[in-house]
């Protein structure tokens, strides 16, 4: 089984420097792109690979790139942004790539920039990833020195400047247009779409925002071809995926596996199953803003369509496991408290609705819940659902709530009936 994204990552995550990285095929994808292919060829190659965005939404990367205006009349500079603002609760996969192989991320950024003819790029990193920051700074400096960044890269005539932007902490920065506002030195509030960032993004110029894991796939696609990339997967979506698990499992961690590996295999083989004395009750398959899956979904293939057909989303592919000694109502309260706190306040349903949801769940936990509270919660999953808010934050927040109300309804009712949390 091939593991292109993690093959050069050591167990202690100390990354290869640029020389060792080059000996391990680092920057070979970039050389091929710049010396043999036109930007249109690179875009077509990535389209054919069936690479879909790894940040949560799963949009085809090559198609996203194809919306960028090309040619001499296109506005300039265009921008390529790597979204390294990993803040989805229970998600820790991009940290591995940023700390473990920063040159792969940088190479992916340069190739992506070449495909859309971007002149400037930013890696948008969260403040808390201090080790990643140090390693990226070093790797960017090495890449400039080696001539992979700057003017006339490898004699191709292509110029690309790459900067590291370190944020100051806010979940909304992970939202594409919130990120753009943040990068411009503003509050990370979302922008109306259209216009889409591909046409009018950072400072009104064409802009692509791609997740760390997404750009990390690009060098390997260029080096080995789109058919090879498709062949890595067990399903129609191309490539491998960094899956992870946290919670009361025996071996919490991260594993690069073929896309489409089953939930059962990830949970019981790679994560080692539940810790002794704990039973499996459910799982958020791809971060805090995905619907719960339960025992009946263990055979689900963890790819974009498989998880969607089971009523949830692949999201970030990092499992958060709920055990029988953890209260599902308390867990959802924790999630909704997070979303209420991180709501940017721009639109009213999200700003007012999420705190109401969080307070209602807290009342259930504290023994102050009323029978009608369950209806109020259920109503909010519709009122804050898709189409009623400015961005995807509140609809995402409703996913764990609506599925918890479905799968753990008895537990919610017990909180009302027994006037408090049975787990306390």
């Amino acid at each position: 089984m091939e593991t292109p994204l993690t093959r050069n990552i050591q167990p202690d995550r100390v990354p290869l420097d640029i020389k060792s990285s080059e000996r391990a095929d680092g920057y070979q994808g970039l050389r091929k792109a710049l010396k043999e292919l036109t930007p249109a060829d690179v875009m077509e190659t990535v389209k054919q690979s069936d690479l879909k965005g790894r940040g949560g939404a799963g949009f085809p990367t090559g198609v996203k790139w194809s919306f960028v205006p090309m040619g001499d009349d296109a506005p300039r500079p265009k921008y390529l942004i790597v979204n390294a603002d990993e803040m989805e609760p229970g998600t820790f996969k991009d940290r591995l790539l940023l700390e473990g192989d920063p040159h792969m991320v940088i190479e992916g950024a340069i190739i992506s920039a070449y495909a859309i003819q971007a002149g400037v790029g930013y890696i948008f990193l969260r403040w808390e990833y201090k080790e990643a920051e140090r390693r990226l700074r070093k790797a960017i400096a090495e890449a400039y020195e080696a001539g992979y960044l700057g003017k006339n890269i490898l004699g191709s005539g292509f110029d690309f400047e790459l900067h590291l932007h370190v944020s100051a902490g806010r979940y909304m920065c992970g939202e594409e247009t919130g990120l753009l506002n943040s990068l411009e030195g503003r509050r990370a509030i979302p922008r109306a779409k259209p216009p889409f960032p591909q046409v009018s993004g950072l400072w009104g110029k064409p802009t692509i925002v791609n997740n760390v894991e997404t750009v990390s796939c690009v060098p390997h696609i260029l080096r080995n071809g789109p058919d090879w990339f498709k062949g890595l997967s067990l399903t129609a979506d191309g490539g491998t995926k960094i899956y992870g698990a946290s919670g009361r499992v025996k071996l919490p961690g991260l594993w690069e596996l073929p896309l489409g590996t089953t939930l059962r295999e990830i949970l019981f083989e790679h994560a080692g199953g539940m810790q002794d004395g704990y039973q499996f009750r459910g799982v958020l398959p791809g971060g805090a803003s995905t619907d719960f899956l339960t025992e009946e979904h263990l055979e689900v293939k963890m790819d974009f369509t498989g998880v969607q057909n089971a009523g949830s989303r692949l999201g970030t592919g990092t499992l958060i496991v709920l055990d029988d000694q953890t209260c599902p109502v308390g867990m959802v309260q924790n999630l909704e408290h997070f979303f209420a706190q991180e709501s940017c306040g721009w639109c009213t349903p999200c700003r007012e609705g999420l705190p109401w949801v969080a307070r209602t769940l807290q009342a259930l936990e504290d023994g102050n819940g009323l029978p009608e509270d369950l209806e109020i919660l259920a109503a909010h999953t519709k009122l804050l659902g898709p189409g009623n808010t400015f961005c995807a934050l509140a609809p995402g927040a409703m996913e764990p709530l609506q599925s918890a109300l479905k799968y753990f309804h008895d537990d919610f009712e017990r909180h009302v009936r027994e006037k408090g949390c049975p787990w306390r």
Binding site: D94, R248, A288
Partner: protein
């Protein structure tokens, strides 16, 4: 007044963007790193440098979780309160930290050594519970380990 070193570092960030205000988050962090927090006076100085109004800059400063507009202790403890840590014993860690330090979230110890704050998911969920102290991440926490960590920072002081 900004020091020459602060001003120089902020200018080096300004060079990375086509517009000055884009460097404002970096500028706030530069000042905060040197002084612990961002006072009204510092905020005004940065605003002048970046050609923003103080209101525009405060609008940004108050939005981000890690810009402090009030004084904090010598060491800032950020305890993750997100879901994986919550499952793995966050409450117990919070109670222990509060008891040991005699403060709740938002508080600073009377000797000015520690400020305790909650933080969203630190992206180290396979080693939960997790906290950061200043720039360092500490994971697989238990009460005994927290005591050791606090002692280390006290000695450092």
């Amino acid at each position: 007044m900004l020091t020459d070193a602060e001003r120089q570092e902020i200018e080096s960030h300004v060079a990375e963007y086509p517009y000055k205000r884009a460097a404002c988050i970096e500028a706030l962090k530069v000042v905060q790193r040197e002084r612990g927090w961002v006072s009204d006076e510092s905020l005004k100085d940065i605003a002048v440098l970046l050609e923003m109004t103080p209101d525009e800059l405060d609008n940004v400063a108050t939005f981000y979780n890690l810009i402090f507009r009030q004084p904090v202790g010598k060491h800032v403890i950020l305890l993750c309160d997100s879901v994986s840590c919550w499952i793995m014993g966050y409450e117990k860690m919070r109670r222990h930290l509060s008891e040991r330090l005699g403060i709740g979230f938002g508080g600073t110890t009377p000797d000015g050594e520690f400020t305790l704050l909650p933080i969203v998911c630190l992206g180290d969920c396979d080693h939960a519970p997790v906290m950061m102290v200043d720039n360092d991440t500490h994971n697989n926490l238990d009460p005994a380990k927290i005591d050791q960590i606090l002692d280390t920072y006290r000695k450092e002081a």
